[in-house]
Symmetry: D2
């Protein structure tokens, strides 16, 4: 765990693999007196792709502003055809939660935020059921009730966009939201909308996964968190977990056991995303240690 | 674990649920001085089905022969519309192993048999690769090499049937056999052919599950043992297990990690089957404790 | 899951094992037209002990009051030297939560209660830190702040007893309470005080288990829920779970990962206790399916 | 998985953490045209220690012999006070197995070696029970039966040393050997003797862990692989795993379930050791990804 009192920068890079990549990045950091706190890299040999995450202490670093750092790094990146992004610990992410009447993931994330587990701001919660308002507001967070019907989908999303933009949201978590986002929505927030699906994907994608798991007689049930893409339940998987069930468990039991899975799997994905540890490529993720 | 020196009988029952079922069975045992060693029951409320497994000590039981016991129980069963089967510990099951060149499950089962974990006879192993002969014969078990081609399938199965009948086999384990059995074969051995599939079913049924799991970027891989039915990879699931993988694992890593899953999942299913703990209904299994 | 709209009775029994036990109980139920919903039994061969849990539908049962049922069953119990207890679904347990400033287990249990996962009343929460008052009161539950010091322990417990008695509490959950109960307290609530210890007992009993786990370099950390006895961390274990850690995890990471374990392990133990599924003997538990 | 047809070198390093370490190592590799295949590093902030594993392709590397490489790297290491070791894939490790009559781990490792999972030579097996000779010799490996008694321990170890030296063994695996090695033995092979203990250490160290686990009523049992040090069961832990047990499991069941744990935990530790992925410090291990 990085000391939360430290100011750090994190660089995420992917590039065609070739000698000198690590050296170029480490030289850049060394030249500006950057002390590496964590570094992790991965080579996908089949794709000839190099992926890296490096986090360094900004104390003592000779470049201080985001602009100065990015400008100094740009030529290094260009020389190696890197795709890259930088995050700075003092510029906290702004995360919106979308929710339905199923409030267990919502409640779990709000509590984790309250005790400091989630390094972000939560400027708002948007839901299509009024029943969770008290829960959200008891955490001092504004709740916006937006009903979605067959007919008002475009207007409803337009209102969501307005709220998200006003609140400068960069990450959206679908905490059992139970509504399909439009392609437009997905396109506006690439790799920035995290969903929890209540099955072990790709098994039981789509509707009523617990019912279908019960019908099939599986001995384990699962949950999957993934970035949302235009294909339903087909986005890059961030995390999965399973738990054991038996013939004694009816559908209601699966739903109850599944709630614990959903909470934990979604919380892990959200944490890793907020720590800039997740990099997507080829519809998969690398989750750096 | 039942004391292996004891002679016991095990009754497996399913019946429409109604009051008096447990009482009728317990009275039958009490009347003949049967001491219950294990009993477990399950009610499927949605199907209104009662399922039970009871094992009792044959020492002191006033009925001794299989025929006498079955004859005495028949009227109890009839009164409650039971479907039932009995197994006797002194009449060990006879199990054939079918194998391909992938020998890890084969080797694992042979070793478990050698050290007494599997309560059965293994009168023969049938394989379509000569390479495992030494391994099998080093355990003192005959190996039969039967090549399967597109053209000789019927004849090859006819030869398999002859060997199975001659050896009085009642259970067949496909230890990574990698051949699809004919409908005729499946029909001859209902709920008596156990397969291991190298995925977490229903995900990745069919061919090359590890390749497809890698392509999809899952974070866990699995293995599934099930009874073989006429629908490929669709039979009643007996056991499943998963293990964690990451972006660092290429397909060869998944294959290697998967081998450990396959061995353990198949071994559990085989053990439970041999202990008469598995009851199939509605294309699912109850695995009694 | 038992249909929550049903009224049921649950019997927990232990007795010296001998033929006729199951028959006697099933006959008692049959004679009064009891329809068994769940039954599970266990024989501890080494101790010659028979243990059983049976739950039946009170609709149609010819005995209706708790008194009538207990009176009718007493002679059966006596004939077989049974120790027994009965619980009735319409007489909900009354559970107090004890807490410190570590509020994750508290918050988790309150939320589970809110969404109907815990079949009990929670008439009060007692804590030695004022900081959780808001959380508790936002659930509409009274919070009592009782400070414990080296000097006031006896008086503080006396006040706790008064509150517990006034609220007719029968079950106490130490949700990371971090105070050792006096022998008098433990004696008053045998097998009715559930604690969560943040290690895989018997490893790291006592203080600072995460620090000691980190120092020892373990690859898994655990949590254990148990009934409190007069020996610290030595009571009958109800549930345990572990999660993987690595050299990358410092003590703060273990604490954070451990919170998820503690929540789940404590919640399972509480649920099973409330469902009358836990029976203690010889400082162990049987958790009936 | 590194392509097994490649010749690679692997460097393991620990050093006091300071800026420039990664840069120095990456420059060394770049200067000699080394293409990094895997790199992983760890910073132990509490100890101010930097640890790294880097594997590179020897094809195209301008230094070819072990001597040339080590000589060129020595000044880099000295400049940063590194402790370091290098391994070369074409110089396979030589591993001896020590065993008792409990043959499941032995059989498992021999089978893994047979199918190519373990990248090493196994020049000999030493055991104190004649019963496993056939199993070992069927794999074409010499078996040496050395009986250990209270009186002959020093002579028996002398004979073991002679055999190990003659066979140029560098790694020793205690595959349920059930004998305590002398301090002299441990000193001769520091961090090179791997043991499997049949409990979740530090719980149940010493004798009869399954009996004690059963007595304590734990809900999970475990196994632990570790490097052997002079303190019994106190060496650096390489890997641990657990499996669920219940009140239904007697000691014999724990022993049987434990065998599967022991096999998998020991096999993982052995594989990681052979891949030069394990680095010990402060009586802990770093297992590099």
């Amino acid at each position: 765990m990085t000391d939360p009192s430290k100011h750090t920068a994190t660089l995420l890079v992917s590039a065609p693999d070739r000698p000198g990549l690590v050296h170029a990045i480490s030289r850049f950091l060394l030249e500006h007196n950057g002390n590496i706190i964590h570094a992790d890299q991965h080579e996908d040999a089949a794709e000839n792709l190099f992926l890296m995450r490096v986090e360094w202490d900004l104390q003592g670093f000779t470049l201080q502003s985001r602009e100065a750092i990015e400008q100094a790094f740009a030529p290094v990146a260009e020389a190696f055809d890197m795709r890259w992004q930088m995050h700075f610990s003092h510029s906290r992410r702004r995360m919106a939660l979308f929710t339905s009447q199923y409030e267990h993931c919502l409640s779990d994330l709000l509590h984790r935020h309250r005790i400091g587990e989630l390094d972000c701001e939560i400027p708002l919660v948007i839901g299509n059921h009024e029943s969770v308002r008290d829960l959200v507001e008891s955490h001092g967070i504004p709740f916006h009730h937006i009903t979605i019907t067959r007919d008002n989908k475009a207007q409803a999303e337009a209102r969501q966009f307005a709220l998200l933009e006003e609140a400068q949201v960069d990450t959206i978590v679908l905490a059992r939201y139970m509504q399909i986002l439009s392609p437009l929505f997905v396109e506006k927030y690439p790799n920035r909308v995290i969903n929890i699906h209540h099955s072990f994907l790709p098994a039981f994608d789509g509707a009523k996964p617990y019912h279908r798991a019960h019908m099939r007689g599986v001995k384990l049930i699962g949950a999957t968190s993934h970035y949302v893409t235009s294909e339903l339940d087909e986005g890059p998987i961030i995390e999965q977990e399973v738990t054991r069930v038996s013939h004694r468990d009816d559908v209601a039991d699966l739903v109850e056991k599944g709630r614990d899975l959903e909470k934990i799997v979604l919380a892990r994905a959200v944490k890793w995303h907020l720590q800039s540890r997740v990099l997507s490529y080829n519809n998969k993720t690398v989750v750096f240690d």
